[in-house]
Subunit: 330 residues, 2 copies
C-alpha cells in the first residue's frame, strides 16, 4: 500500500485539518473534529446533516455549504460516525427549524443516526430522516439490510439542500428527499479493489482481466465477477439493471451522474457519459442534466457508477439552484 500519509491513525485528522483550512471561507471544523459545518448558518432554515465513513471524499464534507448540507460527520475510513458526533452536529447547526438527516442505507449509519435523532428529539428538537437506497445491484449486502445508499445520495443532498434554502419546511423536505430517492437508481462496476489504510491490503482481489459487477462503495461484492468488458457493454449492463428496475416512461427527463470511484481517469468517465447517453437515447430517455466526476469514491478503487435520476420541472429548478461547496459550485 502506497499512501501520502504520516501515520494511519493520524490520517483522517490531518486530512480534515487540510480540508477545513483550504475551504475556510465555507466551512469550519467542530470541536474534536466531530463534524464539518457551514461557517454561516441561516436562521429559520431547516438544517441538513449527513455523514458516514470516510474514504468517499468529497462525499460528505465536500458538499457542506450554501445550497447543500449544513454539517457532515466523518467516521473513520469505511466506518460509521458515532451518535455522539451526529448529536454534536445537530446541536451546532439546528437553528430552530429542525434538522433533516440524510443517511445512506448502511446498518451502522442508520442505527447511529437513529440514536442521535432520538437524543435530539428528547431535547425537544424536530428531527426527520431520509434514508437513501439507490443501488440496484443487490437486494441486501454485507453491510446493509435492503439496498445500499450510494452515489445518488449527493443528488438528494443537492435537491433537498436547494429546497431548504427556499424555506421549505421539514416535512416537505422529507417528502422531497423521498421523491428524489424513489426516482433514482445507481449501479457500480470496479476494475480494481481499494485499500483501506488501516488494513494495508486490498479489500478484495480481482484478476487482471476481471471486474466486479455491482460493486458497493466499500468494495463490497456485487452481482458477479466477470471478465472485463468493453465500455459499451458495461454501460449496457449497468443501465439494463437501472432502467429495468426504475421502469421510466418513454420521454422521461433525467439527470445522468457518472461517478468515478477514485482511481479512474476523467477521460474514461466522459467516455462512459458518451456510452450511457447513447443507450439512454435508445430507450427514449432525455438526459436533461449531467454531473460527471469522482464525487462518491472508494479511496483508490478504479471503476465507476452510473446514477439515473428522473427529473421534472420542479426538480430541475432545484438542481439548477445555486450551490457553493468545496466540491460542487454553480
Amino acid at each position: 500500500m502506497k499512501r501520502l500519509m504520516n501515520a494511519v491513525d493520524a490520517m483522517l485528522d490531518e486530512s480534515l485539518d487540510g480540508f477545513a483550512a483550504a475551504h475556510a471561507d465555507i466551512v469550519e471544523l467542530g470541536a474534536d473534529r466531530k463534524f464539518v459545518r457551514r461557517r454561516a448558518l441561516s436562521r429559520g432554515k431547516v438544517a441538513l446533516i449527513s455523514g458516514g465513513g470516510s474514504g468517499h471524499e468529497p462525499l460528505h464534507a465536500g458538499f457542506v455549504g450554501h445550497g447543500m448540507l449544513d454539517a457532515a460527520c466523518p467516521g473513520q475510513v469505511f466506518t460509521s460516525p458515532t451518535p455522539d458526533q451526529m448529536a454534536a452536529a445537530i446541536e451546532a447547526v439546528d437553528t430552530g427549524a429542525g434538522s433533516m438527516l440524510i443517511v445512506k442505507n448502511y446498518e451502522g449509519d442508520v442505527m447511529n443516526f437513529e440514536m442521535a435523532g432520538e437524543l435530539a428529539a428528547a431535547e425537544g428538537r424536530k428531527i426527520m430522516t431520509v434514508v437513501t437506497n439507490d443501488d440496484v445491484a443487490v437486494p441486501n449486502s454485507t453491510w446493509s439490510t435492503g439496498r445500499r445508499g450510494v452515489a445518488g445520495t449527493l443528488v438528494v443532498e443537492k435537491i433537498v439542500g436547494a429546497g431548504a434554502e427556499q424555506s421549505m419546511g421539514l416535512a416537505e423536505l422529507q417528502e422531497l428527499g423521498r421523491k428524489v430517492n424513489d426516482r433514482m437508481r445507481s449501479f457500480g462496476v470496479a476494475l480494481t479493489p481499494c485499500t483501506v489504510p488501516a488494513a494495508g491490503k486490498p479489500t478484495f482481489e480481482l484478476a487482471v482481466d476481471e471486474m466486479e459487477v455491482g460493486v458497493g462503495i466499500h468494495g463490497e461484492p456485487g452481482r458477479r465477477r466477470s471478465k472485463l468488458a468493453s465500455a459499451d457493454a458495461i454501460a449496457e449492463d449497468m443501465l439494463g439493471a437501472i432502467l429495468g428496475d426504475l421502469a421510466p416512461p418513454v420521454g422521461s427527463e433525467c439527470l445522468l451522474l457518472v461517478n468515478g470511484f477514485g482511481g479512474t481517469p476523467l477521460m474514461e468517465l466522459y467516455l462512459m457519459v458518451n456510452a450511457a447517453r447513447r443507450i439512454l437515447a435508445g430507450r427514449g430517455l432525455k438526459v436533461a442534466r449531467h454531473l460527471t466526476g469522482s464525487l462518491v469514491t472508494s479511496l483508490d478503487m478504479a471503476g465507476c457508477s452510473l446514477t439515473v435520476s428522473l427529473l421534472d420541472e420542479p426538480l430541475i429548478r432545484l438542481w439548477d439552484a445555486p450551490v457553493k461547496t468545496a466540491a460542487l459550485s454553480w
Copy 2:
C-alpha cells in the same frame, strides 16, 4: 491495463463527445474534434487558446469557459496536438482582438503552437504566446528543453483568463502571464506509474516501496528514485525545492495548489494541504488562496504535485474573479 474503453483508437473521440455533451451549456466541439471551444464568444476580447496531449484531464478542455480559455486543442494521449488543430482553433475563436497562446514547455507543444501562430500571423492575426515552465524538478527533461510546464499552467490560464474578461489587451496579457509564470514553481512526486492506453503497459516501473521524486506529468523521470517517505517528509522535500528556487520574501502571500495525478484519493491531497501549510507557515509565507484537486493529471498515476504561486493584490483580484468552466467554477 484495465480501462473503461471500447477501442484504444476511439478512446479520445468518445471521451470528447461525452465531455461536449455533458457541458453543452459551456462548450462545443470544433469540426473533426480539432478543438473544444466556448459556445459563446465575447467580441473584442482577446482569445485565450491552450492545448496539449490528452491524459491530463481536466486540463485543458475542462478550463474552457467564461473567465478562462476560449479554446483548447486536445492531442492524442501524451502527444502534442497538431498545428492544424491550433490554427483551426485560432480561426474559430479570435474575434479580432488577437489570440494569446498558453503553452506548456514541451518541445512538441512549443513547436506546433509556434507554427500555428506563424500561420495565423501570416493571415494578419495578432498572436502572442506565454510558455509556462513552472516545474523546478529538472533543468531539462526527456521531452523539454528547459523546465517543464506543469500544473501551474492552470494558474496562468485562470489569471490571464480573468484579465482577458476585463478587456486587457494582448501585450498586457502576455506581461501578466509571464509575471504569473515567473512567480510560481511546481514539484511532483509519483507513487505509481501511469499506463498509456496505446502502450498497454506502465510507462515506468516503481517498486512497492519506491517513489519517483520530481516526476513529470507524463511519468518522465525526476530527480531521483527514493524509498517512499512520510507525507511530511515528501512535502518538505517538494517545498524545499520550490522555495529554494523561488526565494520568496518572508511575509509573501501565495496560492497553494495541491494537484492529484489521477489515482490519488482526495483524502490524501487534503492531508498534503495540511502538511504544506505548516511548512509554508514555518517559512513565513501566508497561504492566501487554495486550490486542491486532480486537475492536471497523468491518467491513473498516483501521487501529487505542489505549486506555490506568489500573489499580490491585483493577482488575488484576478484569481477571485468569476469563472465558469467544466472543472473550475466560482
